[in-house]
Each structure stands twice: as C-alpha cells, then as structure tokens.
C-alpha cells in the first residue's frame, strides 16, 4: 500500500500539520476499481462494496449475450419502480428514440450482444454521475452498441434512478429472463476524482 501522506509531527518536535508527499500518490484522476470477466455464462454481473471515495463512476465493457437483448442496470439491489430512461438509436437504416418511466426492473439500456458470431461482442461505456451525492437523484449517460458486419446498432442513452442514496453496488443483467451473458464478457469499473 502506497504512503499517501506522512505527518512530520512525530519527527520534528513542535511542528504539526506538515506533510510530506511520497511523489507517488495522486489525488485526481481516473482509477481502477474492479473488473469482472466471465469464465462461463452468467445471469448477471455485480460490483459491490463500491468505495465512496470518488466523484463519478464509469463502466466500460464488452458483452455478448445468448440472444440479442437490452442491458438493465440496478443500483443497491433496488428493483422498485424508481428508474426512467431515454435513448436515441440507429440500426443501420432507421433511427428512433424511446423512453421509459417508472420502470420496475432497471434502467433498460438498449442494445447488447451479438450472438450470431462467437467472437463479436457489443461494447458499452456508462458514466454514473455523482454516485455518492445524497442530495440528488442519480443520472447515467451512456454510449453503447454492437456491429456484426450487417446487423447491429448504436445508441446514446440517459437514465435516472430516483434515489438520493449513495450507490454502493451496481448490477448489470440482460433485460429478458433466461438470457445470459456469455463467456469472455467483461466489465470494468472505474472511479474519477477531481
């Protein structure tokens, strides 16, 4: 564990509140938190015990599912009707937009997976803003999509979780029961400071 600060009060008699920087620790930036890569199929991926020391979170992932489906995000194991979302998508020929209000099972993010080619994965980048702010509801913005050389789509999304609770866990799962994430699907959680 790196030394992040060192008080010299015990080293220099009569001097307090002086600190020495170890020239390694940083206070601002983009930090690793956790990564999950599936060795076999799974019904969901969850990050728990998220440190409450960052400003924002970002999830970056590659994912493949047993059939084309949406990804849903749930926070703090909340399955109540506390989520809403909007999205704008393009599927290679048409564009569309939709919304959901008071959704009961998550944020309903569209577009995931490419089950028609075993090496082809959908990808996503989701930002969870002010995740530990207890004075506001939580907002997600995302960019995701998959291309399978003749099918697929790309979208931008926003979503809201109407809770002022600090987020301590994030669960991602296919929107449809019985659909699973496939082997090698991988999600990485990062935190930003500053």
């Amino acid at each position: 564990m790196a030394i992040t600060s060192l008080s010299t009060s015990s080293l220099v008699s009569g001097v307090k509140r002086r600190r020495v920087w170890d020239q390694l620790a940083t206070t601002d930036g983009f930090f690793q938190i956790a990564t999950t890569t599936l060795a076999s199929t799974a019904a969901s991926i969850e990050f728990t015990s998220i440190p409450q020391t960052y400003t924002h979170l970002q999830i970056r992932g590659i994912l493949r599912s047993s059939s084309i489906d949406a990804v849903k995000i749930q926070f703090n194991s909340d399955t109540g009707s506390n989520y809403s979302y909007h999205y704008l998508y393009g599927n290679g020929s048409a564009v569309g937009s939709s919304a959901g209000t008071s959704t009961s099972s998550g944020a309903g993010l569209w577009s995931m997976g490419a089950p028609n080619a075993t090496s082809t994965f959908g990808i996503c980048i989701y930002d969870i803003l002010d995740y530990r702010d207890t004075n506001k509801y939580k907002t997600i913005r995302g960019l995701d999509g998959f291309d399978a050389n003749g099918s697929g789509g790309v979208e931008i999304i926003s979503s809201n979780w109407r809770s002022t609770s600090a987020i301590t866990s994030v669960k991602l799962s296919p929107n449809t029961g019985g659909v699973t994430f496939q082997q090698y699907s991988s999600f990485a959680l990062y935190g930003t400071k500053g």
Binding site: T26, G29, F30, F31, Q32, I33, A34, T35, P51, T53, R60, G61, I62, L88, Y89, G90, N91, G92, S93, A94, V95, A117, S119, T120, F121, G122, I123, I125, L143, D144, G145, F146, D147, A148, N149, G150, G152, G153, V154, E155, I156, Y184, S186, A188, Y190, G191
Partner: protein, 163 residues
Amino acid sequence: MAATYTPIASITLGTATATVTFSSIPQTYTDLILVGSLNTTASLDYSFRLNSDTTAIYSTTRLTGNGSAASSARLTNYTLGYINALSGATGQHSFIFNLMNYTNTTTYKSALVRYDNSATETMVRVHLYRSTSAISTISIQTDSSTFVTGSTFNLYGIQAGNA
C-alpha cells in the same frame, strides 16, 4: 487504487499530413482512447486502420444528426473504418475513439466513436474489426487532401484492474 488513463503518445502536426500513425503501442492496457482535434481545408473523409490491415474485415454502424434530420447507415466488409461520414466536410473536427480490449486475442475488436464537426454534424459510431489479433498499430488517414498543421492526435491507455 491505481491511477490509469495514461498518456501513451501525442502527435501535433508540424506540416500538413495525410496519415498519422501510432505504432508499437504498449500491450499493457485494456482499452485505448484516441482523441483527435483537427482541421481540414478540403472536404474529405478520414478513417482508421488497425495493424496496417487493408483486408475487407471492417464494418460500422453510425447514427448522425446534421441539424435538420437524424439518419443511420451501415458499411460492411470495408477495408478501413470511417470516422466521419461519407459526405465529408471542411472545418474543425473532433473525435474520441474508444478501442476496447485491444490486446484480447479471443475476441474481435470493437470501437465506439464520438465524432463532431460543429459546422455540419454530430455522430456516434460502433465499429467491428473482425480479427482476434492484438492491436499494436493505429493509423488515421484521409481519403484525399491532408490534415492541416496544428491538428492534434493523443493516444491514452486505460488499464482495468482490482483496487
């Protein structure tokens, strides 16, 4: 906790250039992010290639808004991956190119791109490169003409991990 989002290389064009290449990319990160801020004086399209591969294994789906309409289109079995639209445009361009799991030799490579030309359009793209090879070279090239002097291209690496 380990900090990441690490600068790998930075290119600022001292002269007008048609192709910019990042080679010998370290294989120590999970994702790559390439940020471009550039000007063009002629209407042109530009694109990327990975590992200097010119075979027809690139495809993309895009979503575009041009101020009056939204549209979506797809290209399949291409020899490169377009970053902007086929219509091309002059002026100030910017893009953020996210290449995911670029060292993974099990999966094909996918990328998400945010592209903007403040004068003409805003766009998101998803790309597929149907190769399981690790990526060690990224080049950005124009179809015609050049990127002008002062255009910048910055490459970053993000490393996943467990704190």
